[in-house]
């Protein structure tokens, strides 16, 4: 697969994630407005979901791509996954109760993850010296990271002010 095609696929995957959560958020907001209930809860949930889903995708893709194709393609893949959600993040923050600093910190952590996780994949490749084994190990490690993010999301759940 060429680098351009890979960029496109990553960006499309990021857009699909953001689009699915945006559709769910706007739908639940419309229902909340129709029923006269608080729409900010939907926005807070959407922010949380955007964070969790991108952490999961990033952990699974970045480590694997880093192991398979190196650090730079890994970073590109990670950024392609997380960046398309920014407009939805801003809209959900505007409708929610989360502090701007919390949301900004979460995005910075995701950016740091997109830079750091491919290094883990690259390290695995150099450590194991076999591409196939590195890819499998990277994928397993990414899945473990994603699973731990889901399992412990209650601990770093962004509290409302």
């Amino acid at each position: 697969m060429s680098a351009a095609t890979a960029h496109r696929l990553d960006a499309m995957a990021g857009l699909a994630l953001a689009g699915a959560i945006a559709a769910w958020w706007l739908g639940s907001t419309r229902l909340a407005l129709d029923h006269g209930s608080d729409a900010s809860r939907c926005a807070d949930d959407a922010l949380q979901a955007l964070w969790l889903v991108r952490v999961t995708a990033l952990a699974m893709v970045s480590v694997r791509v880093g192991a398979l194709r190196g650090w730079r393609p890994g970073v590109t893949a990670g950024l392609g996954l997380i960046a398309p959600s920014w407009p939805v993040v801003v809209l959900a923050w505007s409708a929610g109760t989360r502090l701007a600093t919390h949301v900004a910190l979460a995005e910075v952590l995701l950016l740091a993850g997109s830079v750091g996780l491919p290094l883990v994949g690259l390290g695995l490749h150099r450590l194991l010296r076999k591409a196939d084994l590195a890819v499998i190990s990277g994928t397993v490690l990414g899945i473990a990271l994603a699973a731990s993010a889901w399992a412990t999301h209650g601990m770093w759940y962004m509290p409302s002010p």
């Binding site: 499309m12 706007l26 907001t29 590109t76 392609g80 407009p87």
Partner: protein, 485 residues
């Protein structure tokens, strides 16, 4: 040596003067002897004074609402103001200035689940009305804001207590009487009766005059049996104040445009800078758009009166749709009375103008999709008298029985909506009772719900063009109920 002592004494005196702080005295008394009902409005009477001239800030906090007033205090002058507030178990009144320590008073409000009967008698005769909780009052316990009468459900006043009321208390009492408040005046002299006769709303049925306490109780009991006039309440006109979807539709379009643009960018440009630039620019553009597309507030006024009544009661809702996270400061409409947050759980701050005795601005936090509303309630003079005669041939003869003409409106009778032509005083029109339309939009549904059995209502849209500071998207209706013949 003595000269040095004298200079030192002078310096110390000057220093004492320089560091002298004004001392603020604060007293707060609730209306109705501290009684109210949950979700109703009451009033706190506040007295403030200072021994030195100072500018003080007064805060009255009840529930999640805060009323703030800036006051210029002068030595020897007591500033007195009556602040209408939402009833809460504890009301905190505090006053302070940069130069003076803050004074704070807690005012306890007893919230009764039972209806309240307020009794202002010069004698100590016990009064009991079944199902009511009785609150004994002196003249000073009566409020000066008509909105604070919402705290009680019935009132008995004798002549001495009535004559002890000041001008503002009398004004508030008369407004309450005009708004169909149940009031019995005991042993009123003929002059007072004549004054009160024309002021009672609901055809004067709510304002009663009794010669003894037993009569007063019987009158109140019999007045509880029928429904007292049209009970205007915002839940009843909920269909008008439902949030609209303009903001949601706009956000949907913004999101759709972004995803379309980002998909096109991903299809035609594969470089990382472009894939990063598109969402970054879109984020900035969305933030800018949210700030630019501020929707205007909307006002809905729903008023009701009985045919021939001199006053109509109204409920109004002013909605502020918001798009951005921030804080809004909006003017309170001066033409409408008793401004308060429609949602008691919504934190809101009101700026109170002590000289005019009313809130002037409201401040609250905003966010996307949030629709904060200010509710108003009050009454205004009206002159609409309609006489309807059902003829055996199935025709309705509608006559303007008042002294003032009315514009075109609609008549709702027999479950149908009829066009009501503009009629001058004394003019009449014939309406075919079966020729009406079976419309069921939000307006008709709300109006239909107000019709008494076999009765009818007339509905007019009110013109608000001449009213200053009214939001452009405002609507107002007047419903006049016509009892069954």
């Amino acid at each position: 040596m003595s000269r040095w002592r004298w200079l030192l004494g002078l310096a110390l005196c000057g220093l004492t003067d320089a560091i002298a702080q004004p001392r603020i005295d604060l007293a707060a008394t609730p209306a109705w002897n501290g009684w109210s009902r949950p979700g109703r409005v009451t009033e706190v009477d506040i007295r403030l004074s200072a021994d030195l001239a100072t500018r003080a800030t007064l805060d009255v906090a009840a529930g999640r609402q805060l009323v703030r007033a800036n006051l210029d205090l002068e030595p020897g002058r007591i500033v007195r103001l009556q602040v209408p507030i939402e009833s809460a178990a504890e009301v905190a009144v505090s006053a302070g200035s940069p130069a003076a320590p803050q004074q704070r008073r807690e005012v306890g409000i007893a919230l009764s689940e039972s209806p309240l009967l307020a009794v202002g008698l010069a004698t100590d005769e016990p009064v009991h009305l079944e199902g009511f909780h009785t609150v004994a009052l002196g003249a000073e316990d009566l409020p000066r804001n008509a909105s604070a009468y919402a705290s009680i459900d019935a009132l008995i006043l004798d002549a001495p207590t009535l004559s002890a009321l000041d001008q503002r208390q009398l004004g508030a009492l008369l407004v309450h009487a005009a708004e169909c408040g149940r009031i019995v005046i005991l042993n009123a002299d003929p002059r007072v009766r004549r004054v009160l006769d024309g002021t009672g709303g609901c055809g004067g049925r709510a304002l009663m005059s009794a010669s003894s306490l037993t009569d007063a109780k019987e009158m109140l009991e019999s007045s509880l049996a029928p429904r007292m006039g049209p009970a205007t309440a915002l839940p009843g006109i909920g269909e008008f104040v439902r949030p609209d979807h303009v903001t949601w539709n706009r956000v949907l379009v913004i999101v759709a445009v972004y995803f379309a643009a980002a998909t096109l960018a991903a299809m035609f440009f594969a470089s990382l800078p472009v894939l990063l630039l598109v969402p970054a620019l879109a984020t900035a553009a969305i933030l800018a758009l949210l700030h630019v597309m501020q929707p205007s507030p909307q006002l809905v006024v729903w008023s009701e009166a009985e045919t021939g009544a001199t006053t109509a009661r109204y409920q109004a809702s002013q909605r502020f749709p918001s798009l951005v996270r921030g804080r809004a400061r909006v003017p309170v409409l001066p033409q409408l009375a008793s401004a308060q947050s429609c949602d008691p759980t919504q934190p809101m701050r009101f700026d109170f103008d002590a000289s005019r005795g009313r809130a002037t601005f409201a401040e609250f936090d905003t966010r996307l999709f949030q629709q904060i509303s200010l509710c108003y309630a009050g009454s205004f003079p009206v002159a609409r008298a309609i006489a309807i005669e059902a003829r055996p041939d199935g025709l309705l003869q509608v006559r303007n029985a008042g002294g003032v003409g009315w514009p075109k409106g609609v008549l709702l009778a027999g479950g149908l909506v009829h066009e009501l032509p503009a009629l001058g005083p004394g003019d009449d029109a014939i309406i075919h009772s079966r020729s009406g339309k079976a419309l069921r939009d939000a307006l008709v549904r709300t109006a239909m719900a107000r019709i008494q059995t076999d009765g009818a209502v007339a509905l007019w849209e009110l013109e608000l063009d001449g009213v200053a500071d009214i939001p452009p998207q405002s609507k107002a209706w007047l419903l006049v109920s016509i009892p069954p013949p």
